[in-house]
């Protein structure tokens, strides 16, 4: 069932490529169907997942037996959570790119290549397979941004592609070294994650290989100071691609760091714990402060992504069950909320006003011209600030609780980051939608009535994402019942011993 999330995406790519170029409507329909089918498959699997630490095996086929490489797909609660957020982001992304008119089928073909790769990463339990899917996701991002993007798109696209590739190069070095060391130690050549998780790697090996793999993945999760691809990439990307970048691609990085680096090398995490927490907190506070002074609406959201992903990394570094669960929850929550914010900025506002300059938007009185956009953005901001009732609250609170046990100072600093977050969100909210002061009077509203109204696909997409955030915020056990048992699985035996739970 779950494997179909991957296959359906690639089948969708095949169908899209066969469609005639003159029929964008058909391409959109195929895209929406593909995305919905993926989401449905993910939801079914999540509903049937027993609340136990056992892996839900999907497929195991020998691929390259001589090298110990298998085609091994499986899922635990953590993968399922991320499969769900991928499904949500994919559906919403299609809805918000309903207005793509140039080379529509190519757009969706690249889009679903990316989605298929992302599903693949979340379901792979063989490190070679995981890496294959991870790299598969790099190239479509480049084209999505370079062809359909805006502001400095070729620069942003190339920067993103190179950062991702450098990150995966670090990971590749680490994986090869891990493979060879495990083979020397046990005599068995394998890339199978459950098998490698049983190997106790020598301490001095873990000390250098852990940062290699962790940082390699975390580059894509926006780890400060390697985050600079994120704002430029997000800004340059078309709406759906920014939603995917923030919504799922950054999670690829965080997921990889958790699934590979932390699972296999807990001793390495012990050594580097404080450094990672420091970088994460710097990311949280720095991202928020920089967002506070941006002039471009989308840059504000871009930097806020860096800030919120800091919470994921902080949670990962805590060695605490609550903190780790919070990190996974935050991956879901940020995927939904950032998607929503980018949808408002990119699709609802920019595609209509053709500007993202806050000073220009101030004069447009968008609060009245686009009431739906304004309401959506208010809700999204509240969710992003971490208001109780939304998913962000549960997630960031759990991370802070975990962090409090491990490093109280970092928790306090992260709290400061949250406060600054409220600041920049209120500032853009006021400037973009509710500025009625002297500016609005001075700059005559340039035909506010001429802005086309919000379309049905946009409304549906927004409602879907808000609904998801509210559902998790009001009843977090929906996901926590998936995530929490997963920590008891044999995969994390070494981590549990190291952490002492």
């Amino acid at each position: 069932m779950l494997a179909w999330t991957i296959y359906l995406s690639f089948i969708g790519v095949g169908v899209l490529l066969c469609l005639p170029a003159a029929r964008p409507g058909a391409a959109r329909a195929v895209a929406l169907l593909t995305a919905l089918a993926g989401l449905a498959a993910g939801l079914c699997a999540a509903a049937h997942h027993p609340p136990s630490p056992a892996l839900a095996e999907v497929t195991t086929l020998p691929w390259l037996p001589s090298l110990g490489i298998q085609y091994h797909l499986a899922a635990d609660g953590i993968s399922l959570t991320l499969v769900l957020v991928t499904g949500l982001a994919a559906v919403a992304g299609v809805l918000f790119s309903w207005n793509i008119a140039t080379r529509t089928k190519e757009f969706f073909a690249f889009y679903f290549t990316l989605i298929g790769g992302v599903y693949g990463v979340f379901l792979s339990f063989d490190l070679f397979l995981l890496f294959v899917f991870y790299e598969l996701a790099i190239i479509p991002k480049y084209f999505l941004i370079a062809v359909w993007g805006s502001t400095r798109k070729e620069y942003g696209a190339m920067k993103l592609a190179l950062y991702s590739f450098v990150g995966s190069a670090l990971v590749l070095v680490g994986l090869i070294a891990t493979y060879v060391v495990a083979r020397t130690q046990t005599g068995v050549a394998t890339f199978d994650l459950p098998a490698l998780a049983k190997v106790v790697f020598p301490d001095q090996f873990q000390v250098w290989v852990f940062p290699l793999i962790f940082v390699g993945f975390a580059i894509l999760a926006g780890l400060w100071p390697f985050h600079t691809w994120a704002p430029t990439g997000h800004v340059a990307a078309p709406t759906a691609a920014s939603m995917l970048l923030a919504g799922v691609v950054m999670k690829l990085g965080a997921y990889g760091a958790l699934r590979v680096a932390i699972t296999l090398f807990p001793q390495g995490l012990r050594v580097w714990q404080n450094s990672i927490a420091t970088l994460a907190v710097v990311g949280i506070v720095y991202g928020a402060m920089v967002a506070l002074v941006q002039k471009d609406f989308k840059f504000v959201i871009g930097y806020s992504s860096v800030s919120h992903m800091g919470f994921v990394l902080l949670g990962l570094a805590t060695f605490h069950e609550v903190g780790l669960s919070g990190a996974v929850l935050q991956m879901f929550s940020h995927g939904v909320i950032a998607g929503l914010l980018f949808a408002v900025v990119g699709r609802m506002v920019y595609d209509r006003t053709h500007t993202r300059e806050l000073s220009v938007l101030e004069g447009m009185n968008l609060g009245q011209a686009l009431p739906f956009a304004a309401v959506t953005f208010v809700i999204a901001s509240l969710a992003s600030m971490g208001l109780p009732g939304f998913s962000g609250f549960v997630a960031e609170l759990s991370v802070l609780v975990g962090a409090w046990h491990a490093f109280p100072t970092a928790a306090v600093a992260a709290g400061v980051g949250i406060v600054v977050g409220v600041g920049y969100l209120l500032r853009v909210l006021q400037q973009a939608f509710f500025a009625r002061g002297e500016h609005a009077a001075a700059a005559a509203p340039p035909a506010a009535h001429a802005l086309e109204p919000i379309t049905l696909p946009e409304r549906l997409g927004a409602i879907l994402l808000i609904g998801a955030s509210l559902a998790i915020g009001l009843y977090p056990r929906l996901l926590l019942d998936l995530i929490v048992p997963a920590w008891q699985s044999p995969l994390f035996t070494q981590l549990r011993q190291q952490a002492g739970w």
């Binding site: 294959v132 370079a146 062809v147 450098v166 190069a169 090869i176 070294a177 020397t184």
Partner: protein, 502 residues
Amino acid sequence: MSSVDYLHLLALIVPETLVVLAALAILVVDLGVMRQAPRRYRCLISAAIVTVACFAAMLWMHGVPQHAYALEGALVVDPLTQFMKQVLLVLVFATAVLSLDAPFTEHVGEYFALLLFATVGMMFLVSSEELLMIFVALELTSLSLYILTAFNHRNPASAEAGLKYYLFGGMAAAFTLFGLSLLYGLTGETNLARIAARLQGHGLDPLLALALVLTVIGFGFKIAAVPFHLWAPDAYQGAPTPAAALIASGSKVASFFVFAKVMMLGFAGSEGSGAWARLTPGWVPVLVILAVASMLLGNLGAIAQSSVKRLLAYSAIAHAGYMLLGLITMAHTGQRQAGMAALVYYVATYGLTTVGAFGVVAAINPAADDERLADLAGLSRRAPLLALCMMVFMLSLAGIPPLAGFFGKFYLFTAAVGAEPDHLGLLWLVIFAIAMSAVSLYYYLQVLKQIYVSPAPEAAPALRPSLASRLALGALALAVVVLGAAPQLLLDPLAAAIQRVL
């Protein structure tokens, strides 16, 4: 020395004989019968003869597996050399199909005959473990390729490229010959295995070191490794595109294979070590220097190119650097089989990819001698299939899964790290290689950016490449995808062949 059984010898060289006969047939048919026919038919007939010869030779090797060590190693026929010959024949076949549209010459028969003569040279090259035979085969290949490079008499750049290639090549041949003669003087033998036996316990004295370095210079030229690469960008750019494809693929495959054999068999015992902080003299550190320099200069040089063929030339230099890692791995006895398998997989898939990439360049504009990067602008809208093929080739060269280039790199790097599993001594070299392949993504993406992102020029018409080249390119792209996703298709027969030989 017993008398030579010529019939037995003839049976061993049936594939080579077939290719030579085909070359002669082409000359006879083209010069004798088809002189007045339109060029299109002459090309078709010649290519058909090439096809028949290639497939007949492959079928023969497939159907009649032989294992022989004849004439003191001058002719080694075993599963591995037969495997290499099949790879070469596939590459030559692809080159011939892509030459169909090329309007660069009136001398069709001579062109295809030279193509086959170069092939024969390469086939003898891979099946020899004897210095004289290696040298003769190397020269046969090189001389044919020099002429092919200069074959476009309408383009002065082609003549210049041919001359440059020839002068550098002649110099390199002199170095090789000097090195080989020193080796002979030291040991009194020309057979690789016996040379190694004589050198056993000899230590790395200055004369041997000199012979070693001179030999490496000669082969370094053939594989276009830095600092012996200077001919490559000019030759690739000036040569007719299909000829450049053969130089970059077939010639490289054969040279790497024989280079590996000479080093591994002939200089066995004086390997030295290239491990980090434990460098000891021998041929491995020499190759390490070449590898590092090639990866660095090839990748950085490619960034600055604006001609597609020059870019491919620098990329070829960089790839030579990666491939040298395979040779370095083979110096470790425990990893010899893995190193050989990784090297052969890498060069074979690299050959397919490169022929494909040159084929796309040739198909876009058969009349042009040189393709600027900007000429590719908007190709995805002018010829979607060509664009898709080029994407596959470029991404494979960059090492993106699930394409063959990725698995080749992965396998090569894993074998290299596994060569010293206790200290991970070669890890530094692998880290460097992986870092450099991250650099390479930049310029491969530049090509794809032109194809997919840049708008097509206003006046540009839709492209309709010929059916043959579309089929050939499609098949090559498919092969790159399939061999990447299911590498065991190539690896299993390769491993079986290697197991019986090494």
